[in-house]
Amino acid sequence: MVEQAEYKIKLPTFEGPFDLLFHLIKKAEVDIWQVSIADITEQYLAYLQSMKELNLEIASEFLVMAATLLRLKSKLLLPRSPKFQEQDEEEELFEINTAEELFQRLEEYRAFKKAALHLRQKEEEQKKVFLRSTGGQKIMVFTQQESVYTIWEGAHHLSEIMQRFAKIAAQREYVPAFSAVEDFVIARKADYIYAVLRQKRRSVPMKDFVIESSLWEVIITFIALLEMSRQRKVNLLQDRPFEPILVSLIEKQPELFQPEEGESGERTAKESY
């Protein structure tokens, strides 16, 4: 038996215990309702055995089913004590207590398997029909600055940016993206951006706020700018994707945000502690 592992046996893969049982029944060329529990249990265990010999990982569902089959088999072999019957049935993955229940479940599974096969056919048919994909070129997105991007461009550039970040991140040591100090760091960055903008009194490209030029800092700066833009404190301008992002101060609108001006960043930072 041990030597069997030397041979290259290719085992079909199954979607689960029902799939395997179904396969065994088909191989035996019997109707689901005519299956001998003893036979099927033996074959099922033999299959698990060969999986074990091939050092394949056996999913827990397969083992639970093996236990279920063995219990069904033992029930058929042993005389039943009417007193204890059905008393020790616990709730379990399959909840199968009689051979009939097993057959019924297999039958139900078979029906859905057939339905899945039908879907596969429809999928194949539909794969042959090519649909128009304009990539959204007809749908324009007008931003506030009235620059025109197509949706396709936006999505395309976003995915490019994500890929770039992923590449850079992969090259670097892992830095946890979210930590308790995050709010604090962003608030400090926002204060810094604010101070620079006030001093220069003109628009400043985003990269000027990044001092150490680490990926981490770029992200912090970007998030700080988004937050400030959301609070209507700064205007962000970009002509085209990948062009510099220009940051400019929004002139004061007294009643709107004077009260929290300047302090808001620090306040949020303190609150989060």
């Binding site: 215990p17 019924q104 039958e107 304009t134």
Partner: protein, 175 residues
């Protein structure tokens, strides 16, 4: 607008759309009735097939859509090879079949039919927008309920769920 002109407009409209178009949308664009619009779409459908053209109009997800004829797929695959997406896995199709026939359905119900844990497959199908969460089932744990989407119909080229063949369950015992 005269009728021929309207039909040309419908052809152009269907050509441009990436999604199935409902007849009432066509009707609104042409300021005509849905019945009229549907009649013209069907006429166009027949004209395209009678003339043996490379395009066809078919029903999908409750609307009409223009696409290529299936027999041309081998040519098109050569030209657009990078855009051909992979098929769904067997597990995904099993779960989809169960959701399609039993919806709204919970994860536990799906797993008890398949005999296999299926959370991962469900997550992937949600991501592909072939299924969606429709709400929660009343009862212990209030589990999430899953249903199929319009994208599901579109993906399989189905007009509606009624187009699926009936589930064949041989009922020896009681269902």
């Amino acid at each position: 607008m005269e009728k021929e002109q309207q039909k040309r407009a419908i052809e152009a409209l269907l050509f441009l759309s990436e999604e199935p178009v409902k007849t009432d949308k066509v009707a609104a664009a042409l300021s005509t009735t849905s019945v009229e619009a549907e009649k013209m779409i069907e006429e166009l459908q027949e004209e395209l097939s009678a003339q043996g053209r490379g395009l066809q109009i078919f029903e999908a997800a409750g609307g009409y859509q223009m696409g290529t004829r299936p027999d041309l797929s081998s040519f098109l695959e050569k030209a657009f090879s990078e855009e051909v997406s992979s098929n769904l896995s067997t597990a995904a199709l099993e779960v989809l079949a169960i959701v399609a026939y039993k919806q709204p359905v919970t994860r536990i119900e799906i797993e008890s039919i398949r005999g296999v844990r299926s959370q991962h497959v469900l997550d992937n199908l949600l991501k592909r927008k072939l299924i969606k969460i429709s709400g929660r089932k009343e009862g212990p744990g209030r589990p999430l309920l899953y249903v199929t989407t319009a994208d599901f119909l579109k993906y399989f080229g189905l007009k509606d769920l009624g187009e699926l063949p009936e589930l064949e369950v041989e009922n020896e015992g009681a269902e």
